[in-house]
């Protein structure tokens, strides 16, 4: 599936398949995931637990824990523009996960913002040292003093008051919201081409979440990085993303520009999600839950993985083979037999 192939494609994921080989069985975490991320744009990824949204992020960063994880098919191409008009194309899935090349990309070209800023910082080093480390790792020529100045500047930019003092503070001395700001400062300090934000506001209060999301959008305008924004929350993703991709059990079920996806949800899963979520301003008479439970992660689905819970399933069709990805409306892709000819 190609969303508008242009020269601006930064990340090109092609038919990616990832498995986790555990002794209880094999988890088919990604079963052929394809999408692209454009430079400077935000792709929102929506999914519940087991959908593969975080594994997709790990694959792009080349940090799938192996063993037990294994890329069994497909590839992740990074198109890194170089000086002049040339583009360096890197296939992340072929690089050794701790080799020099991927390490020069991780944190510099692509960085990550995690959900829990308390556990993703080292508690025994100051925030400043951790942000400076990111600079010095990728720019060995930069002096310690310059790295420190760069860190202070970045901390100031993400809205940490008195950054020149706070740089010597430890993570525990920061509130949750301030820690997440520090994490964003660290992720942006090398001016990456893309930031992957994996549920960055899930652990935060709603008032702080709003601050962090607006901050990310402002920083994107200023620095021009692409963002892959992963969340289970449709309303949050709707507020930040240019295009949205809905995942379920290792497959992309629907992918379209944000307005298009919200105005015309096509996949029964997307539609059902909307009807099942309480909102602050929608109909409050009765939610319509999605029936059944999430299938076991070890289950193998011959047909559509949503079959067991789908209200619109066609027996003898949807349970027999995997639905193809179809462009049901212009630039609106959906994996569902309802839209096949």
């Amino acid at each position: 599936m190609n969303m508008q192939t242009t020269n601006n494609v930064l990340v090109d994921v092609q038919d990616l398949k990832v498995q986790f080989l555990l002794h209880e069985g094999t988890v088919h975490a990604l079963e052929g995931v394809s999408f692209q991320i454009q430079q400077g744009k935000t792709l929102g990824v929506i999914g519940e637990s087991g959908s593969g949204k975080s594994v997709t992020a790990q694959a792009i960063m080349g940090i799938i824990p192996s063993p037990p994880g294994k890329v069994v098919g497909g590839r992740v191409l990074l198109n890194l523009p170089e000086e002049g008009a040339s583009v360096r194309v890197i296939n992340v899935t072929e690089l050794p996960p701790s080799g020099a090349e991927i390490r020069s990309i991780r944190g510099k070209e692509i960085s990550m913002i995690f959900q829990e800023p308390m556990t993703s910082f080292s508690p025994v080093h100051t925030l400043g040292n951790q942000i400076m480390e990111a600079v010095q790792l990728h720019y060995p020529d930069v002096s310690k003093k310059e790295a420190r100045e760069r860190a202070i500047e970045m901390m100031r930019r993400v809205g940490i008051p008195r950054a020149e003092e706070r740089i010597d503070a430890y993570p525990y001395q920061f509130s949750g919201g301030m820690r997440q700001r520090a994490m964003i400062a660290m992720s942006l300090v090398c001016n990456p081409r893309m930031v992957i934000a994996d549920e960055p506001t899930t652990a935060l209060d709603v008032t702080i979440e709003a601050q962090i999301l607006e901050l990310l959008k402002d920083l994107q305008k200023e620095f021009g990085m692409a963002i892959m924004y992963i969340s289970h929350d449709l309303t949050v993703v709707g507020g930040v993303a240019d295009e949205v991709m809905v995942m379920y059990l290792g497959l992309v079920m629907e992918h379209a520009a944000t307005d298009e996806l919200f105005d015309n949800p096509l996949h029964p899963y997307t539609e059902a999600l909307w009807r099942s979520i309480p909102t602050i301003d929608g109909d409050i008479e009765r939610l319509t839950p999605i029936r059944g439970v999430l299938p076991s992660p070890f289950a193998v689905h011959q047909g559509c993985p949503f079959y067991s819970r789908c209200e619109k399933r066609i027996e003898g069709v949807c349970d027999q083979s995997r639905p193809p990805m179809i462009e049901a409306r212009p630039q609106h892709w959906v994996r569902c037999f309802l839209y096949t000819e």
Partner: protein, 345 residues
Amino acid sequence: MNANNNVLLEVEGLRKYFPIQKGLMRRTVGNIKAVDDVNLRVQRGEVLGVVGESGCGKTTLGRCLVRVYEPTGGQVILHTDGRELSVTELNGEEMRLFRRSVQMIFQDPFASLNPRMNVLETVGEPLKVNGLASGRTLEDRVAKVIQQVGLRVEHLRRYPHSFSGGQRQRIGIARALVVEPELIVADEPVSALDVSIQAQILNLLKDLQEQQNLTYIFVSHNMSVIRYISDRIAVMYAGKLVELGPKQELLAHPKHPYTELLLAAVPRAIDRRRGHRIVTPGEPPDLAHLPSGCVFRPRCKYAHERCAEEEPELRELAPGYHVSCHFAEDLSLGGVIPRVKSFPA
């Protein structure tokens, strides 16, 4: 307060302080006032939603009400079985009655079930401990309640590990319901569940409440969930109740600036149309260093001098509507405007 047969629970001046200790001698140098002078009444058969940010005291309040925590001060009166129980001073016999009348549902269905007890043992335990049933009767009652929460009799001998998060939460609900309580305190009962499962549990809780005329105190940080389940809403900030009123009125026309701020921050589908979410600077308060006067003052865009000098009391602005703001009458605050078209967004 005048007598009213329909009042199930009265909370008066409830306080729960946690000491801040320092040094080798564990000297108490101050207090975290997790719940500070909370007054409210819960009517029989209503759902009271308690909402606020982390650290506002909503969980501590819930725990004080079910006697998981011993309150530092104040009174909680439960009207049950034609009697008045003072929850803070229960004797043995009263405690048994209290445990039958008040039950709790917890947030994390993975941590709150004993992995070595099967469903029958887990759900049957409150009956056994309270001497309400045993043997065949106990099993029948458990089987009945298990079906009410949408599980099957075949599940009785299974252990928690074989259930999904949603099913485990159903077990937790069954365990609370089995003693046929009047009041259930539910602390973030759907927060740990996947979005596709949340609605199942919310609808189950709603149905059970309507069918059995249960009373809920429903604690959550999620204003959208609170809106769906509650009849009345209590908003907490820094250990204090700042606003309490019927759901419709409170959401449409909040009277406390904090409620306005909280409602504005909730993500909604319209954000992508207007291109942003409403953002207010500031952070939740540091409970060890609260400001003088009104606790919300540092974040309040309407604050005046009086707010620094004088702490506002929770007062009845209109019958059944309480707010703690000096300027509640003068402010015209923004609430939630329901979308005309509910789906798609």
